[in-house]
Symmetry: C2
Amino acid sequence: MPSYTAPTKDTQFLLHEVFKLTEADIPGYAELESDFTNAILTEAGKIASSLLQPLNQSGDQEGCGFEDGQVTAPNGFKEAFDEMKAGGWPGLDMPEAYGGQNMPNVIGTAVGEYFSAANQSFTMYQGLTHGAASAILAHGTEEQKQTYLPPMIQCTWTGTMNLTEPHCGTDLGLMRTKADPQEDGSYKISGQKIFISAGDHNLSENVIHLVLAKIPGGPDGIKGVSLFIVPKFMVNDDGSLGAHNGVSVGSIEEKMGIHGNATCVMNYDDSTGYLLGEAHKGMRAMFTMMNEARLGVAMQGLAQAEAAYQNSLAYAKDRLQGRAVTGAENPDGPADPLIVHPDIRRNLLDQKSFIEGGRAFLLWGAKLIDQAHLTGDAEAEGLISLLTPVLKGFLTDQGYDMTVQAQQVLGGHGYIEEWGMSQFTRDARIAMIYEGANGVQALDLVGRKLAQDGGKHLLGFFERVKTFCKENADLNEDYKTQFIDPLKAASKDLQAAAQFFMMNGMKNPNHALAGSYDFMHLFGHVCLGLMWADIAKTAQTALDSGQEDADFYNAKLTTGRFYMARRLPATALHLSRIQSGADPVMSLDADQF
Amino acid sequence: MPSYTAPTKDTQFLLHEVFKLTEADIPGYAELESDFTNAILTEAGKIASSLLQPLNQSGDQEGCGFEDGQVTAPNGFKEAFDEMKAGGWPGLDMPEAYGGQNMPNVIGTAVGEYFSAANQSFTMYQGLTHGAASAILAHGTEEQKQTYLPPMIQCTWTGTMNLTEPHCGTDLGLMRTKADPQEDGSYKISGQKIFISAGDHNLSENVIHLVLAKIPGGPDGIKGVSLFIVPKFMVNDDGSLGAHNGVSVGSIEEKMGIHGNATCVMNYDDSTGYLLGEAHKGMRAMFTMMNEARLGVAMQGLAQAEAAYQNSLAYAKDRLQGRAVTGAENPDGPADPLIVHPDIRRNLLDQKSFIEGGRAFLLWGAKLIDQAHLTGDAEAEGLISLLTPVLKGFLTDQGYDMTVQAQQVLGGHGYIEEWGMSQFTRDARIAMIYEGANGVQALDLVGRKLAQDGGKHLLGFFERVKTFCKENADLNEDYKTQFIDPLKAASKDLQAAAQFFMMNGMKNPNHALAGSYDFMHLFGHVCLGLMWADIAKTAQTALDSGQEDADFYNAKLTTGRFYMARRLPATALHLSRIQSGADPVMSLDADQF
């Protein structure tokens, strides 16, 4: 049976030693003292291990039920959901004014990783509610906020996002769902939406669907899309629930993973909806959700990798098989543990160095969001907008690969369901697809984000790396050659790639788009390189100042060196692919495939 | 619903234009005229599409049954198995003397790919029988051959391989299954084996288990292991079936994929077994099976990638989403097909260039086996021994990655089971694990095969590449820069890696083992580079001589250029990882993970 222990020590290290939250000059951050965050993380870790993780495998095996139009979550989910609500966890980083606990995003993200690692399917029910609530918070009228936010922040009501239709996913301009204006200012929504996560279930009293639809007579394509609040049950003036709103579930999907979360076909038949934000500006409102959701999905990629890593590590230490080539390390036993073997270590270190660097990257992203939202810092806003597709695409692709590697450590035991490794892989697979498939993230990055505001956010990123290298090159000679030099080289590859796009993309945009996926990964590696350089600096400084727990800091340095020596050089491969341009990709006629 | 069409044209191109079978001077090859192989491939393709493929998804959904100790394959498998038997397919490349059709391995492999692509779970029942029969053919007494081979070659009886026990997989020296010698020369076998594919089912009258066990008093560890024939039902002198032999199924596993093939826990309780080959030389006999099985597994990796590719390609041509950035290509439709988008093409070409190059690599491997077995060519024998772990590790790792990429083309539809893409991924995953996990393949390659016979097989490989480059550099200037130069560069990377191992592995073998996985992939890329250079030469020559079907040959050149420009440069990354040596991998204490 798989297990999960929240990596609170690592999170604390990042929050306080690497990112120094209390010194960050962001409203609310000064109160995030180490003891305080430790209490939150520890409590969240307990819930993750003892409440959510035990329902992960059973939820996968049982899946959701669908009978007489009603969806049911797996056994135990309702009780656990009630406990989460009682603990106030769903509203952790929501405003106090609507019943939340006002924590910044960085804490919500730190905690979210644990819940997601312990049980992704379960955590999605509250994660989607959070996203929908955020959209109402950002674009709703005060009345809408008063009506929907308190129960959504408590998760008494849950929320969903309705974008995809059978014939369109990425290209939402093709949308057919209609919103007919009514005399009372409301709309009648009709159409079918598919792939609606947490679309229906037995965990909450009401489901608040945020639905994209077209108001007849509006602009063609994506510019004519508006966003609507469509409750499953109508809400009376006093907040009590009224009639059923003609929202029904057509079916639930059989999927590769996340069996515990219901993926629904949703049918809207003249359902009453309320415009959220401005008419025809639905995409903008939806993107509030999407950007948050993308960070949340990046987190899932990391979280499943962590869960899988922990179990593969335990197996590698426990399973006796073969002997170390340099001499028995467990001479009294029948064989040595797997972890003595170089290729097993290579595998585990791929995982570990990705996860610890990726966690830093994710929390840095969350901190940038806080900085942008809470201080109005336009630079932070621009940077996180640039980094969002990188976070989503890189962390979910690599996170998935790491679950596959973790599976491999267990050999045949990784393939049978009993050990739970298959589930980590199957659950992690969706994160590369939903909230914008990773190819679409790459397109967003290269086609939109690079040139945003005259390209200044990318330049700002390079400036940041340069400054970091300059300021820390003198820490010591080893640090310089092992961290600063490789980071510089990787960053140079990224610059060369951006330059290639600039020089050639004007003539033919395919020169840029053919390299978009590689660019996203190249960028991700540079970000992790920067994170590792920062982590290593922190660790080295702690060691130099004689802090306790030298083992912990030394492990950081060793793991970081692995990343810099063995993972970061991937940037050169991505660059060489990018520089091969559009021809290799575009020359083959569609008929010749 | 997914579909499958056997790529007979590509196979024919490889067999006759690239590898020129009839000119190869291998016994039996002269008869393999194009019309003849075309008839076989076409018929096999029909069976794959119309008989096996329709049972693939239903077999996955239904899985195997296990009741009252009896395993049942999914509905329809029995009837299809009978049809396969009636067509004589299981004995295609088995000796006529025992009822086979005497085709060489290269034809068995070509056909096997189709069957495996159409339905991996189904094809494993006969694949394992083939492996077991090969071991009996190689190591059995004439009496054993007469007894077991005719029904096994017909698949009236099926076969299995029993290696793994609960506490040992790779490290078979730890084995506990015992074989007590009896007065009549037979043995009593007792013990438990796990992960036994096709261990029991309702498709055949008898199951012939090949079981590794230890004869008490023999040498310790792996040197004391012997191989036994243990039939499920005893065989009477006249070939009829006698009493049940105390072989029972403890349970069948729930797995990530290959649900249609029963993975059994097998219990042997004083079951009667017959020594196959010499006592204590079981591993040698088992390796006859294993090497063949490894090629078969390499084939599975390729086959699942092909099946997944076909379906992702169909979707990319059919699904309308977005517009080409350079202007609408389907202006009368609501959107352009996915295949206009550069990143979708990048994805599809990754798949296509891997599959077509990989198919060449696999058939080259099969031809080397024929050359070794049928002409006693020691050079071919040495080379295929060297390449077997590369074929297995590289084709299954990359094949799996390609099924994941194929899934990605379909977005959300790739994640739900209805479209079948998830199954390709889930089925392909096992190929990286069984018959020696890919980390073990890498260890076999670097720890054993490189130095075999003084390293002359590796040198022979380099010589082959060098000769090819020399002989073909003058084909034309484009060919030289697009194919020969990159192949040379990649081969140089491989040489540098081997040199690094030689220079450093003596001091500390961990310097070699820490790079073993990267070496396996580096080697695989060079092999595919060589294949593409050969394919491109063939295509260019055909075009130069004015052959019909220029589109086909041009597509080969374009696809090959993609591989050389975008995939082959991975060799430099693998080399840089290898050259980072053991330190990054070995420095972290086990406790610090």
